[in-house]
Amino acid sequence: MDLGFTDADWGAIWLTLKLATVTTGLLLLIGTPIAWRLARTRAWWKGPVAAVVALPLVLPPTVLGFYLLVALGPNGPVGSLTQSLGLGVLPFTFWGLVVASVFYSMPFVVQPLQNAFEAIGDRPLEVAATLRAGLWDTFFTVILPLARPGFLTAAILGFAHTVGEFGVVLMIGGNIPDETRVVSVQIYDHVEAMDYAAAHGLALGMVVFSFLVLWALYHFNPTRPRK
């Protein structure tokens, strides 16, 4: 099927899918314990931590991108650390985008998980405890099945939001083919270079993709009226 995409376009598509997959995987690993703690605690730090996790929802990407550029750069605190570990600096690399995307998409993963965990309540966990189930046993046989819709929502939203990322990538990516030039940046380049035909192809692809993803989300997770 010829969609009129160039090799550079396909490179950007592949890179975007890779970035979203890696980011979603990491976010499920990191986000699950955070969401669990947030769901189960009444400690004073619940509010501040929840607020930090939600910050990317309200901050413009320019703020996040700017601070990441400064912090991850050779003169920044994180940059100094990564350099002393022999890892170099993260901006302009794929893994730099992964770090940025993990921050940027964090609320889209943590919040559905937290809601799902809160909905489980104390009862199933107490029952599991009386049956002497260990932590991992409880997680895989009680929590995971009960919170499955939450995990599905978190994974889909985390993935889709990373695919739709633009501002942060523009600010710390440096537009390197097959490394940091994702689809949204490629579209932007086509538009800026006045190549509107090429921009349309990719942009329409994004619209269709996003629509299908959200449709899938509502299909698997129908919101039923509460009784």
């Binding site: 550029l69 302009f92 270079a193």
Partner: protein
């Protein structure tokens, strides 16, 4: 009855002032940000007109103007975009002229990193070289010409990081994320000298001249402030300001 001529005179003066103090909205190429702020301040003081400035990438301005953005003047980063807008009938015919010729500089935020002859490029022990996206920005195209002329395209390309415009390219270098970058001389020059870091001012013969054209857009037709600003850009005061930022 005596008051009538006075009243009329006051009316006439008020009307004259209203006509005279017009306002013009100007789209300005990112590389011209610093000098334009200084020029606009002088322009407002000297003429009483007001200039509202928007800074950004020329390509983006082009798209916005084509789609009805209310800019009345464009100070472009190149000479192609104004010519193209003129062909498309979106400008005031005959208003286009070259307001500045830009200079390219190889710059690092580290003092002593770039030598006066740009040998650092040939030694090639840098990790990242920032330049404006050559597909979008004239300063990026000029940088590519310089690299090609020095026979360094192949060794440099894998280390490119591309800024969306020259302002972003500057950001990459000034934060130290790229050790080296091709930016506009106007971005690193203050009061006639390079203000920080180290730099090689690329000789103009190594690339085609970066001619930056200005044009009055269709929305600025009959706007007194627009034609006044065009005249002001040609005047000595504006030329002197441009000179201190390294424009010819």
């Amino acid at each position: 009855m005596k008051s009538t001529p006075l009243f009329l005179a006051v009316m006439a003066m008020t009307a004259a002032v209203t006509v005279r103090a017009a306002e013009v909205s100007v789209a300005v190429a990112a590389n011209f940000t610093a000098p334009m702020k200084a020029i606009a301040a002088g322009f407002e003081k000297d003429t009483g007109h007001k200039a509202t400035l928007a800074f950004g990438a020329t390509g983006k301005f082009y798209a916005q103007i084509r789609n009805g953005a209310p800019f009345q003047m464009l100070l472009s980063a190149d000479d192609e975009t104004p010519a193209r807008l003129e062909r498309e009938g979106l400008t005031v015919a005959g208003s286009r002229f070259t307001y500045a010729v830009g200079s390219l500089v190889l710059w690092s935020s580290k003092p002593g990193y770039v030598d006066a002859r740009g040998e650092v490029l040939k030694q090639g022990d840098y990790k990242k070289l920032a330049l404006a996206n050559p597909r979008l920005a004239p300063y990026g195209r000029a940088a590519m010409e310089v690299l090609a002329g020095l026979g360094l395209t192949e060794t440099a390309t894998p280390r490119f990081v591309l800024g969306e415009n020259i302002a972003q390219t500057y950001q990459f270098v000034s934060t130290g994320n790229a050790e080296l970058g091709f930016v506009a001389l106007s971005q690193v020059m203050k009061e006639g000298r390079v203000a920080s870091g180290s730099a090689w001012i690329v000789p103009g013969k190594l690339h085609a001249p970066i001619r930056q054209d200005a044009v009055i857009l269709a929305a600025g037709k009959d706007n007194a402030a627009a034609s006044a600003l065009m005249a002001y850009l040609k005047g000595d005061k504006a030329r002197a300001i441009m000179g201190t930022y390294g424009y010819e």
